[in-house]
Point group: C2
DNA sequence: CAGACTGCGGTCTTTTTAGACCTCAAAGAT
DNA sequence: ATCTTTGAGGTCTAAAAAGACCGCAGTCTG
């Protein structure tokens, strides 16, 4: 299901997520605790290996204390 | 997996999606064609019965010719 | 009435997420 | 050298999404 075109999107999303996490100076395990998502999974998300669902997206945003939009804000206007 | 707390979120998301679709005066089948998502599925999403993934979210946003953020822009920062 | 469109709901199979747990190597500090 | 933290991968099960197809009732129009 993960089409080649999607991989790029997921990768970008992951990179942005990582950036935001680093900004908060959170380790994977700290963030895991903050949003009840397994650290190994967050790592996979950051690497673009997972197509997160809406609720997961919101959990991540909550843990980062930011609006969900921030997680989608990697978009470069075309 | 869809926890009771999530249902509310998905419902709100769906309602917002429907609002945006109506704004564009698109029928389910028209939108289905625009984003390659089955019309029955879109109906389910709008009713909050599906926890959409990131790529699906982006497909929907694309079909509505709007930024993904708009889909998350219901008043629910939490 | 007939025909078209609409939203909605159901079924089915394949693929994937969610979630939990475990291991490991590298880097840090004590 | 030891202990801890960190990021990264791996495995496994159960639940759910993806995707496609079908049918139905209501509405509208010719």
């Amino acid at each position: 299901m993960i089409k080649p075109g999607d991989k790029k999107v997921l990768k970008k999303f992951g990179e942005n997520l990582r950036k935001l996490r680093k900004n908060k100076s959170l380790s994977l395990r700290q963030m895991s605790y903050a949003c009840s998502i397994d650290n190994s999974k967050i790592a996979k998300i950051e690497k673009g290996m997972v197509n997160v669902t809406l609720t997961t997206l919101l959990q991540l945003a909550h843990a980062l204390d930011t609006h969900p939009c921030s997680l989608l804000d990697y978009d470069n206007p075309e």
